[in-house]
């Protein structure tokens, strides 16, 4: 081939390649076409094999022409790949999904409302330095009653109130035996909260034969009735997340003196009186008082050296007041329609 023929062929290759890749729609085909022209045995290389037959003077001219063709082809490849990438990106952005379709089911598990309430209550008391204490649900008569100053003939012990297992063994009727067990094994200072199941022979919309109490106990050299009031006030405000008033009302419990019922401002009406608070503006949430010296004597703590307060409240009631649960039985039926609400 003559020099001019070779140059002309090279120029034709340029046009041919442009035509060849124009319809190609993917990177692999474009790269294959590029190899067909620029590869080791591609069309350009084949033509360049003719180079050695040409006069030396023409070689640089043909070489330059070949380089130009290579560059052009590489440019065309780059342009084609660019266009292709743009097209892919554009196509991707044109995708449409109905995002109003339902969400994927993730999790789906719920902690029981009473667990949530208990964890929260324990956390609030933890802020004041109280730690959790526990005790058995099947208790001795001594821990549940005697040690708390409730003698054998007291009406609170009547068979209609307490579930008995044997003469001296029963289902604890309150969490107060945990106080006794703690004080038997630990000298003051003591700051405990004891949440747990308790059992009483009661069954109606506000009483369940098993329910959950949270007991608190603080014993130290300088615990006063004012500390009891402040601790309960702190709890009520944090738990209900509202600035609710607290009222301690004189009452009688065998194991505390002075004793007090704990009332808080009605969560529903806030004070003026409504059906929930029986027009009083107050809701009873628990019992409390200063630890009776009799209890200290039973557990070997010197009542002259130490004073203490104790309180107990029902977590079902706290949850009822905060979450409008209207029948205590819902807590214990394992009904998924209840469990999944909280």
């Amino acid at each position: 081939m003559t020099t001019s023929e070779i140059i002309s062929s090279l120029e034709k290759l340029e046009a041919q390649f442009a035509a060849a890749i124009a319809p190609l729609g993917d990177e692999q085909a474009i790269r294959a076409a590029q190899a067909q022209y620029l590869g080791k045995s591609g069309h350009v290389s084949e033509l360049m094999k003719e180079l050695r037959t040409l006069p030396a003077a023409d070689k640089p001219v043909v070489g330059a022409a070949a380089n130009k063709v290579k560059q052009t082809i590489e440019q065309l490849v780059a342009q084609a790949l660019d266009a292709l990438a743009n097209a892919v990106a554009k196509a991707d952005l044109s995708r449409r999904i109905d995002v109003t379709l339902p969400a994927s089911p993730v999790g789906g598990g719920h902690l029981h409302l009473l667990t949530q309430v208990r964890l929260e209550a324990v956390q609030i008391f933890a802020e004041l330095g109280f730690v959790v204490a526990e005790g058995p649900q099947i208790e001795t008569d001594w821990h549940n009653f005697e040690a708390l100053g409730i003698p054998k003939h007291h009406p609170a012990r009547d068979m209609q109130d307490t579930f008995f297992i044997a003469d001296e063994i029963l289902l604890r009727s309150h969490t107060s035996p945990v106080q006794v067990r703690t004080m038997q094994t630990q000298q003051p200072p003591i700051r405990i909260v004891a949440p747990g199941h308790v059992y009483r022979r009661d069954d109606d919309p506000t009483h369940s034969p098993m329910f959950t109490q949270l007991e608190g106990l603080a014993v130290d050299t300088d615990i006063s009735f004012g500390d009891l009031k402040g601790t309960l006030l702190h709890f009520v405000k944090r738990f209900f997340k509202r600035d609710l008033g607290l009222r301690l009302r004189p009452s009688y419990f065998q194991f505390t003196e002075p004793s007090a019922e704990v009332d808080m401002q009605c969560t529903f009406c806030g004070g003026p009186g409504c059906r929930l608070c029986k027009q009083t503006g107050w809701l009873e949430i628990g019992g409390s008082g200063m630890v009776d010296p009799v209890v200290f004597e039973h557990v070997g703590i010197d009542p002259e050296r130490y004073t203490g307060f104790a309180f107990g409240m029902g977590l079902e009631r706290m949850a009822m007041l905060r979450h409008a649960v209207n029948d205590i039985k819902y807590y214990y039926e394992g009904d998924i329609r209840f469990l999944e609400q909280f």
Binding site: L101, P102, A103, G108, G109, H110, L111, H112, T115, V131, V132, A133, E134, P136, Q137, I138, E139, H153, P155, F163, F164, I165, A166, D167, I169, L171, Q186, H197, P209, M210, D220, D222, S224, F225, G226, D227, K229, G230, T231, R247, L248, R249, P250, S251, Y252, E257, P258, A260, E261, K278, M290, P293, T307, Y332, G334, D335, I336, R337, L339, E340
Partner: protein, 817 residues
């Protein structure tokens, strides 16, 4: 207890008369719970006192009367049609519900014709005013009734008044009468109690005919017995005031003699008993019954007595169950003219026990059961005797009574002064109260107080048997001072002792909820039938549940020994409520007898109460569109592993094929860990056995797991593993092996090869196919090889992998595919 406001304030001398609401608030501050305030007169309105001035028959109805009434002296008469047969003669007063009057039941009166004659309202019977069921005739006021004409009927009926529903604390027997409530009200408001009239001087008679001898066998059982005869009386209707007051506190007036004993009991809190004195043959004796004695109480029932029942005897014959109920033979009747009046102080515990054993609760036994003031018995006797005499005299009888009754008082005690340190008052209450403030508070309650240095010597009133210790007095001081005046403080922060184990249960709860299960809390007890649903063999400790002696129902027969029956029953319940797709768990205690289970052996010790986590899964997982895939045994396994991991951290848990009585024989596994004492099984999972399902009422397959949380080691804080610096290589091995060789066995062989380069093992495929031959399966495992020190060569990886494959082929055995 119902407390009538007018009666209460009659016993109080207060500077300013409080309203019932103010009184209720003061009593509430005192710790006397007020459960409600009832306005007695609010049942009707627009009914007035009117005087009959003329009456004549209705022209067209035999049973109707036309009555002319006036509501002011000299006013014009109005004609009212009346259907009652007891329309009184002119001059007597009746109750006229005028047009527009509101009556109970939402009735509003309008003028309407009765047999052709328009009646502007009506004359009322008791039932029409909601006073009683009585419709025998219209209310006719007593001739002497002082209520002015035109006044509201409430005034004539004693209904211009309120009742406080009072619920005193259990230790305040002294508040079970108007007098006790008056003491509290006066203490809180700063006033003085006024004792009612008990003057007998007008009725004093000779001692002889009015006397009765009294002997007390056991002074512990009866501290005091006051008794004497009120003679010359007769049973009469009680005066309106007494009847109205009794009705207001919830007792029907019967006859003057019995009504007076009730009246004084409600007034003073001291129960009294009236015997017909003519039925008493010898002397009063207070003593115990003999075992097996019989006694007919005044309700006509013959009671079997025991040696702990205290009796009032006539010589040797029982005439009353002390403090509980009188006897039929000595009951006051229409013929009674001489009353033997008893005012005594019986031991609280004895009365409570007898009343409870015989199921005879009464107003009297309630009060004796809480303890009465022995010092009050004499006054109460005179008060009741005076009322009986006055009623008799006003009715024209000639009553007489001994100037002072016989008074056996073997239990008289001097009340000791209590030492109250002012420093102690401050330490317990948190309020600095000086001697004057403390003295004032205690004196208001009727205590005698003497200051001595930094302390007070306090003598409580006899009514307050509950005040025996320094701390009792401190409570009284702060109660009168007002709990509301105690400032709120917080206890000092103190170093806490070690952390409680409760974290174990809550860690499991949180992990299980995060894994998609919902927490249930179920009762600690269950029916025997449900407890037996697991079909456990008698050798299993859990087959011997702890029984409850006094369940309220069969649902509370025994304590649970496993969490699964209640959870399974909850699944069935959800299915029956249209919720078949449920995954629930519970973390809680089960209750096991200590030692080998023997149900007949009485329990003398506590139970073991290990904490378990358990769950039951049934139906399908939630899906995004439509249902998700069904829950299966591997979901149960995953939850069990989550609970273990939450407590014990990422330790090795091996799965063993297991036989568990309540799980399907072919779909059950045990989870084993290496504990401090060697290998131990810490849980099970599987498909619930079809028999268990049927017993619990579950439809379709259900899967379960349970983990003994107490058996798990507590995870130490996790230490970080180095992140691999060098790449690893994966090699797969495809095995053809017998179907019954479990996956765990393959893992075990790989682990036992002890190839140090193995960094992980994953199962990629597990399938059965006819082409593999019957009883065969194919498994594709991927093993990751890695060194923490360098990039491995192909030869190293190949060598390690070939060794493992050889072990698998030889030991399983298996063929490499």
């Amino acid at each position: 207890m119902r407390v009538l406001w007018s009666w209460l304030v009659e016993l109080c001398d207060l500077d300013r008369q409080p309203t019932p609401a103010e009184g209720a608030a003061a009593l509430t501050r005192a710790g006397i719970e007020i459960e409600g305030i009832e306005d007695l007169g609010k049942g009707f309105a627009g009914v007035v006192v009117a005087e009959v001035v003329a009456k004549r028959p209705h022209p067209s109805a035999d049973k109707l009367t036309l009555v002319d009434v006036i509501t002011e002296r000299g006013g014009s008469a109005t004609q009212v049609v009346c259907g009652a047969s007891n329309v009184p003669a002119p001059g007597r007063k009746v109750l006229w519900a005028q047009i527009g009057a509101h009556l109970p039941g939402g009735i509003t009166l309008a003028a309407k014709p009765v047999k052709g004659i328009v009646s502007p309202g009506m004359l009322c019977a008791e039932d029409e005013l909601g006073l009683s069921q009585d419709h025998a005739g219209i209310v006719v006021l007593a001739e002497s009734d002082p209520t002015p004409l035109g006044a509201p009927a409430q005034q004539a009926l004693g209904l211009n008044d309120h009742v406080l529903e009072v619920s005193p604390p259990a230790n305040r027997g002294d508040v079970l009468g108007h007098l006790g409530v008056a003491r509290e009200l006066c203490a809180m408001l700063g006033g003085r109690v006024v004792m009612p009239d008990a003057d007998l001087s007008a009725f004093g008679g000779a001692a002889g005919p009015h006397d009765v001898d009294i002997a007390i066998d056991s002074p512990d059982a009866c501290a005091r017995y006051v008794g004497g005869v009120v003679a010359g009386v007769r049973v009469r209707p009680s005066p309106a005031r007494i009847a109205q007051r009794l009705r207001a506190v919830g007792v029907r007036a019967i006859s003057s003699l019995v009504d007076v004993t009730n009246y004084v009991m409600f007034e003073l809190g001291q129960p009294l008993h009236a015997f017909d004195a003519d039925t008493i043959k010898s002397a009063i004796r207070v003593g115990f019954a003999g075992d097996g004695d019989r006694f007919q109480t005044l309700d006509g029932i013959t009671r079997m007595l025991g040696g702990n029942d205290l009796l009032i005897k006539d010589g040797g014959t029982p005439i009353a169950l002390a403090g509980v109920m009188g006897g039929a033979a000595t009951e006051v009747t229409d013929r009674t003219t001489r009353v033997l009046l008893e005012s005594a102080c019986f031991q609280a515990l004895l009365v409570r026990r007898t009343a409870k054993r015989l199921n005879l609760p009464s107003e009297a036994s309630l009060r004796f059961g809480r303890g009465v003031d022995p010092e009050l018995a004499g006054f109460a006797w005179r008060r009741a005797a005076a009322l009986m005499c006055r009623i008799g005299r006003d009715a024209g009888d000639s009553p007489s009574v001994a100037n002072s009754p016989r008074d056996a008082y073997p239990g008289k005690r001097a009340i000791a002064a209590i030492h109250v340190r002012l420093s102690r008052v401050q330490r317990i209450t948190g309020v600095a109260l000086d001697a004057a403030a403390c003295t004032n508070a205690l004196e208001r309650l009727g205590c005698a107080v003497q200051a001595s240095g930094d302390a007070l010597a306090v003598t409580p009133p006899s009514a307050r048997a509950d005040l025996t210790r320094e701390v009792d007095m401190i409570e009284e001081v702060i109660r009168v001072h007002g709990y509301e005046h105690v400032p709120s403080t917080l206890p000092a922060l103190r170093e806490a002792p070690g952390v409680a184990d409760a974290d174990r249960a809550d860690a499991a709860r949180r992990a299980l909820a995060a894994a998609g299960a919902s927490e249930a809390i179920t009762y600690g007890f269950q029916s025997a039938e449900r407890a037996g649903a697991l079909g456990l063999p008698g050798t299993d400790r859990r087959s011997q549940p702890i029984a409850i002696k006094n369940p309220m129902s069969g649902e509370q027969a025994v304590m649970r020994t496993s969490l699964l029956p209640n959870l399974g029953a909850a699944i069935a319940r959800n299915q029956s409520h249209g919720r078949p797709d449920v995954c629930i768990f519970e973390v809680g205690s089960v209750f096991l007898r200590r030692g080998e289970g023997m149900t007949e052996r009485p329990m003398h010790e506590l139970a073991d109460e290990p904490v378990w986590a358990a769950g039951v899964l049934a139906g399908k997982r939630p899906g995004r569109i439509g249902d998700g895939p069904a829950w299966d045994v591997f979901d149960a396994k995953a939850l069990a592993l989550e609970a273990i991991r939450a407590v014990a951290g990422p330790l090795d848990v091996r799965t063993l094929v297991a036989a568990v009585p309540y799980l399907h024989p072919g779909v059950a596994g045990a989870l084993e860990i290496d504990g401090d004492d060697g290998r131990s099984i810490v849980g099970w999972f599987g498909e619930l056995h079809p028999g268990v399902r049927a017993r619990l009422g579950i439809t379709g397959a259900a899967f379960a797991f349970e983990v003994a949380l107490d058996a798990l080691p507590l995870a130490p804080p996790a230490a970080m593993h180095a992140i691999a610096k060098y790449p690893g290589s994966d090699r797969d091995v495809s095995l053809l092996l017998a179907e019954e060789i479990p996956a765990a066995r393959v893992q075990q062989v790989i682990a036992d090869s002890n190839e140090p380069l193995v960094a992980g093992v994953r199962l990629l495929e597990d399938y059965r196919d006819a082409k593999l031959g019957a009883g065969n399966k194919s498994m594709l495992w991927s093993i990751a090889y890695r060194s923490p020190e360098r990039t491995l060569t192909v030869a190293e990886v190949d060598h390690a992998h070939e060794t493992i494959v050889r072990h698998l082929v030889e030991q399983l055995p298996a063929q490499q595919r």
